[in-house]
Symmetry: C2
């Protein structure tokens, strides 16, 4: 695995090149996606069916074959092995508890002039959640997308999940049942995003689309943004593990691999000031790879985008962490909490030696849909706040408006907006004739 040191002469350049990743700027991809969106807007169900038959080799004959019934979901849930059902229920319960704390309420106050000001918070009417898929589709993603929407109070949750060859992980259906999804369509790709954004004869148009997908999905989400809301443009998964002091190299190595096994373009970075630990982790990674089913993917990911980085001290590590703004950050050291205070940008911070990232993927409680590719600089984990929006509230009293109306009148005149000025003036000179 690639070894870097901050002492290397060209470190800054090499490290910054390693981080560079642009998902959806390929003009051919954008053109394809734009065409799919235009066709779905024009032809609706028919075109979605056609593309699903073509790209997913789905055996459906008519569009209605692509919708699952609540009975199918319930049947999948009822058929679960009890141990798995219990695990899924525990995960759902913990995700719900954590997200309930995120729920925002409205507020208002009366100012010194007697005017009421406030903020109203309401859930979205209808959302679409995208679950990546096929046989490898993730029940955990269903919970992570649907539960926050539920907690926010969204009345209608439409889920899409591609089913290559018509096959689907039954656990995904069970999770959809558990999370209270309203309707499910077994479609994916840009066509699913287009259908959710604009609606078809069968699929109702939603107000927001959340959840990660491949580069077609990412490009389509960007293209429909404005027509609907979106959570973020998802890139490949990433982990940055920082360790110092007493640590088990095998554990750290497996944590690094847990992201590398996701995708050949996933990014796994290990940082330490301890040169011996760095070599121990490098060796443990090699040993683990020999026995890992997804070793090929992990090897490619590590070769393409992975690195073991030796730093001088913790302060240097903090600087690199804030530069990367990693999706997942593990801080494996004694005073992880103190170090976390210095971290300005990260999707999720896993602290201490007993908090592997994988816990967060399933059942710790916080969301596993997290900002990737450095977007933690400006965005947040998927949350209840993604399914709520705010409206400002303003109610002036007849007396309280006078000062404000005079001020607005004056400033509007400066901006040459006379109707604004006059509209304000009426409220403090009611008899004004213009």
């Amino acid at each position: 695995m690639r070894r870097l040191s901050t002492q290397d002469q060209n470190f800054k350049q090499v490290f910054s090149d390693l981080l560079a990743f642009e998902t959806v700027n390929d003009p051919e991809l954008l053109k394809t996606v734009d065409q799919i969106i235009a066709d779905v807007r024009q032809h609706g169900d028919d075109h979605v069916l056609k593309l699903t038959q073509q790209f997913d080799r789905h055996p459906a004959h008519q569009f209605s074959d692509l919708e699952l019934t609540q009975e199918q979901l319930k049947a999948a849930f009822d058929a679960l092995n009890p141990e798995i059902r219990e695990a899924l229920e525990l995960a759902a319960e913990r995700i719900r508890s954590f997200h309930q704390v995120q729920k925002q309420e409205g507020w208002s106050y009366v100012d010194a002039l007697g005017n009421t000001l406030g903020q109203k918070v309401t859930p979205l009417d209808r959302v679409g959640i995208y679950v990546p898929g096929g046989l490898a589709s993730y029940p955990s993603s269903v919970l992570m997308n649907a539960i926050p929407a539920h907690v926010a109070g969204v009345p209608e949750i439409i889920m899409v999940v591609p089913a290559p060859n018509g096959e689907l992980n039954p656990l995904v259906l069970a999770a959809a049942y558990l999370a209270g999804v309203s309707r499910i369509f077994t479609i994916g790709g840009a066509q699913a995003v287009a259908a959710l954004a604009y609606g078809t004869q069968t699929i109702p148009a939603v107000d927001k689309i959340t959840g990660p997908g491949n580069r077609f999905v990412a490009a389509a989400k960007r293209a429909v943004f404005g027509q609907v809301g979106i959570d973020m443009i998802a890139g490949p998964s990433e982990i940055l593990v920082y360790a110092e002091g007493q640590n088990n190299a095998k554990w750290l190595a497996m944590d690094v691999l847990s992201q590398a096994e996701h995708d050949t373009v996933a990014q796994a970075i290990f940082i330490t000031p301890d040169a011996d630990l760095l070599e121990d982790v490098a060796q443990a990674i090699e040993e683990h790879l020999a026995a890992l089913p997804k070793a090929d993917i992990a090897r490619t990911s590590i070769a393409n985008r992975g690195a073991l980085v030796l730093v001088k001290d913790r302060a240097e590590a903090v600087e690199l962490i804030n530069q990367v703004a990693p999706e997942h950050l593990e801080l494996c050291l004694d005073d992880a909490e103190a170090m976390s205070q210095e971290v300005r940008h990260a999707g999720a911070i896993f602290m201490g030696r007993y908090t592997p990232e994988a816990i967060g993927d399933y059942c710790a409680g916080p969301n596993h849909v997290l900002p990737t590719s450095g977007t933690a600089r400006f965005s947040s984990p998927l949350g209840v706040y993604d399914f709520q929006k705010r409206s400002s509230l303003i109610m002036c009293s007849e007396a309280g408006v006078k000062t404000l109306a005079k001020t607005a009148d004056l400033l509007a005149q400066q901006e040459n907006l006379d109707a604004h000025a006059r509209s304000a003036r009426y409220r403090y000179c009611p008899e004004t004739n213009f």
Copy 2:
């Protein structure tokens, strides 16, 4: 002005056609904007200067001529007429007070198993604010963009504002001084957005770009979304005024015109169950137009996109309001607060007869950057929350992790993610050898 009634046979279609508006889907526009972004990324300062000379006819000879100094801002502030300065200060103070209530703090709790879960809230490092411009540029927009960023704790605020022919409203500079903007560049259009998103030799790359602009700006913001965060894709301004009971038709007519004067594609809609009031407002609009400096713009806006709508009752009005999801909503009736409870989607709600929308544009306190074109269905006014982001915090104890690690192990196996499963398993079977 166009009159509609919900009793018209084709009302639904006509009303829905009236609302239709797509800003940035013109392929030629997108191509132009993509080229500008690519050129700015490649040539930096030089290209921004060239386009600013070309599009804005700016007399600058070198890039440094496009940056204003803090001394220039202070001079503009010091030269203000005292009455105007007082108005600007009152507005700034009220905007600051309101937005302080929006500021979010982190939290954490310990679960029943002894694991710590939480959410950390941090400000963005550096943001760019776009202020539309020239001589008609708006000092109020400077306050509305910069103050929430300040309240959030953003250390560096970079403002761009186009200065056609090199001319700028001095009040904009004074507002930038008052709001504590870090640096100002007199550039605009897609080139300003590209420079903020990717940085140039002189302009530092920011993490998020906020503020409305023309269709080039809107298209550029969409294109750089992902590289940086953006607040929203702004469309033309809108107002929906609902009135019933005793009202002054002249006031209502001026409120309607206060949005129509903004832009020929602005949208002003008046709704009432009172046929007489509807005609009175129609007549007052005509009378006002005769004396309004921006009557030409307002007339075109009204002809293109305006309407006076007669409804059967309040319930019908609520339905239309939720369909429109207006940027600005005035509820001019006795029990406006009760009616506001039924409104699910609106950027800002102005209640009662003494709350003209213009108050909200300048000095009520809430933000005037609001979701347009129906996007209030899923988005919020610009706020402090736009300049903060969250990181999840997870710290498991050695005992507390056991249940979670078992659950994660089991679920990860179901998803065929073995490194995930093994990484979790180490934490409850520390001696495991894979």
